[in-house]
């Protein structure tokens, strides 16, 4: 175990995978310069500019070329810079990458990773702060992972690279500099297995990505005995663990940074209700963003931010309904 930042954990994991497998390579803007969060720092020196490729500002082609390269047997890591820019490459992701194996009856596979750092970060405003994980869980063919700790940033990236499925990795921009212990030899984290971050009998709490440390803090401070699940991957997700917990606690709180309306929290609530039966629950709540774009001003952004205090209040509310 070594203590390091989220970005450094991800950087090392990619480097290790590139050492292990010569078919792994990365493409995106400014990668040779280290990427905008330092998550590619030094990699071009080690692996050369044919495997760490700085591209033009051509999101459609970054994504589409990644697919073509996967179809010819390499394992590209497609860097989207931030999730918002994936909006410039949605056809390539959703109508091409996600569907190619199926449409062609299994002849080809898109074994690739799409990295899309997402969420609020230093007052980036409406076009640079979106959380789009719910969209991607809705798209057949895609695996969706969303790490919330440095160790998971590494372990999920390794799993994503080794996966034969296309994996979308939503890295929380706000956590790039967060520190944590990371195994020296990173093992892939299986998709669909939540991290059981805290145990308790009063309330089942489900979260992922940027709100993981927020929820952990709130669970410590709220005084509520929370059973906390950091989902780590959203498709597949650990329905079994969450449903078993909710059946026990009878209460469910889902916390995410994304807009609540049609967020992935809705799917979690619906599945848990279907799983335990509506009679099996006494309290349910989703805590996410209002259906409003993310504003620039700290005074406004903070009003929308999911804080430990807001989460703790929700914990108390749901635990006592």
């Amino acid at each position: 175990m070594t203590r390091m930042t989220f970005a450094e954990a991800a950087r090392r994991a990619l480097a290790a995978e590139m050492r292990r497998d010569p078919l792994v390579w990365a493409l995106g803007e400014d990668l040779v310069q280290g990427g905008i969060f330092g998550q590619y720092r030094g990699l071009a020196d080690e692996f050369g500019t044919e495997r760490i490729v700085s591209t033009p500002i051509s999101e459609s082609t970054i994504m589409g070329a990644g697919l073509g390269a996967a179809l010819c047997g390499t394992r590209p890591v497609i860097e989207m810079r931030i999730a918002d820019f994936t909006l410039c490459a949605m056809d390539e992701l959703v109508s091409q990458i996600a569907k190619v194996r199926y449409m062609f009856g299994g002849q080809g596979r898109a074994s690739l990773v799409v990295r899309m750092p997402q969420g609020m970060w230093r007052n980036s405003a409406a076009q640079h702060s979106q959380c789009l994980e719910a969209w991607l869980t809705h798209i057949p063919g895609l695996v969706v992972a969303a790490p919330g700790t440095p160790a998971d940033a590494a372990g999920l990236l390794v799993a994503a690279i080794r996966s034969d499925d296309p994996v979308v990795l939503m890295e929380p921009k706000n956590l790039w500099t967060a520190e944590g212990d990371v195994p020296d030899d990173v093992a892939p984290i299986p998709f669909g297995v939540a991290r059981h971050a805290a145990s308790g009998d009063a309330l089942t709490v489900v979260t992922w990505s940027a709100t993981v440390p927020v929820v952990e803090q709130a669970a410590r401070e709220s005084g509520v005995a929370c059973d906390v699940f950091d989902l780590r991957s959203l498709w597949p997700w650990d329905e079994a663990a969450v449903i078993a917990s909710a059946r026990r606690t009878g209460r469910l709180l889902v916390v995410h940074e994304a807009v609540t309306v049609s967020g992935f929290g809705a799917e979690v609530v619906a599945r848990v209700v279907e799983g335990v039966g509506p009679g099996g629950l006494r309290g349910v709540e989703r805590l996410g963003a209002p259906r409003a774009p993310v504003p620039f001003s700290p005074a406004l952004e903070d009003a929308m931010r999911i804080s430990p205090a807001r989460v703790a209040a929700a914990m108390k509310r749901v635990a006592t309904t």
Binding site: E92, G106, Q107, F191
Partner: protein
């Protein structure tokens, strides 16, 4: 065998491929119109010279990407026509097990990386395929087919720049049949056209008469040779005409009938047949080739109609490994 007869044999093979494409699509359109083949078919009838002239210069290891109007590219690249016909009919044993249909035919065994239902979408894919070929040091190139309508989509620019920048082994083939669906493409395209746009992004371009398969063959041979030699991407602007409507059911009322009639007079198949006859190939041999092609495709169609439907459970396979539908 003398050099000439070698050459003639090659031309006969091109004639055969063109005839097979035409016969395939005549059957496909008929099957669509009769309702035997579901969905929509986009025939490339009249454009066979482009697919065949280009693919005559490709090897099995080479890859192609294709479009919604892609039967010709697939057949010319050596795809299994019977499996294609089954696919069109949505049957088990189809190229994609019935999951893709006409717009998504692929045959990875011969390097056909797939038709595409999204205009222009093959361009970035072709760029990445070439990048992978470079990375794995494979000896192969990529031919990327698209229509004249695709030159107005963003990925066209991005892909040209990308291929030129990384000097990728790609032959871009713009099949300019004059129309984008129901709209005459010149009515929605400004400037000097596809070749000028490609050159502006650093991809050298050549214009060719796409209704003359020997002209396409000659130019493609030259460009592909350069690409194999490491010259980077090349662009081929092949002018042709879409004889039929946009789809098998489009009567193409938006254009004068004489225009299509005139194009039929420039038929690449008949022109090659005339060359071959002038070179001493017997008319009967040519008729035989065309008859054989017709018979082959008619039998594929019959086979398709007789083939079983895919098992409904196949609807849920090949989605993904992790998190596959239950």
């Amino acid at each position: 065998m003398s050099g000439t007869s070698n050459e003639t044999a090659r031309r006969i093979a091109m004639l055969r491929d063109m005839a097979r494409i035409r016969a395939f699509e005549r059957e496909a359109v008929a099957a669509m119109r009769s309702g035997e083949a579901p969905g929509v078919v986009h025939p490339s009838i009249g454009q066979e010279g482009v697919a065949v002239g280009v693919c005559a210069n490709l090897r099995r290891a080479d890859r192609i990407t294709s479009t919604h109007r892609g039967h010709g590219h697939a057949i010319a690249k050596g795809a299994d026509a019977r499996a294609m016909m089954l696919e069109l009919h949505g049957r088990a044993g189809g190229s994609c097990g019935g999951k893709g249909g006409s717009m998504h035919i692929a045959d990875f065994a011969v390097g056909m990386l797939g038709a595409n239902g999204v205009v222009g979408a093959g361009i970035p894919i072709a760029c990445g395929a070439a990048q992978a070929i470079r990375l794995t040091k494979e000896d192969a190139i990529v031919a990327c087919f698209f229509g004249d309508g695709a030159v107005n989509r963003g990925p066209f620019l991005e892909g040209m720049n990308w291929a030129a920048l990384y000097r990728l082994p790609v032959l871009f083939v713009c099949e300019d049949n004059g129309f984008a669906a129901f709209t005459r493409n010149s009515a929605v395209t400004a400037g000097g056209g596809p070749a000028v746009r490609a050159e502006a992004c650093g991809v050298p371009a050549t214009v060719v008469d796409g209704e003359d398969v020997l002209a396409v063959d000659a130019v493609a041979a030259d460009l592909i040779g350069r690409i194999r030699a490491g010259a980077g991407p090349q662009f081929l602007h092949a002018k042709c005409y879409r004889w039929e409507g946009h789809t098998g059911t489009d009567a193409a009322a938006y254009r004068p009938a004489e225009e299509a009639q005139a194009a039929r007079g420039r038929d690449a198949i008949r022109r090659l047949a005339a060359v071959l006859e002038a070179e001493g190939v017997a008319g009967a041999e040519i008729i035989g080739i065309e008859a054989q092609a017709a018979a082959e495709m008619a039998s594929h169609r019959a086979a398709a109609l007789a083939a079983p439907w895919p098992d409904p459970g196949a609807a849920y396979t090949d989605v993904q490994d992790a998190g596959a539908p239950a």
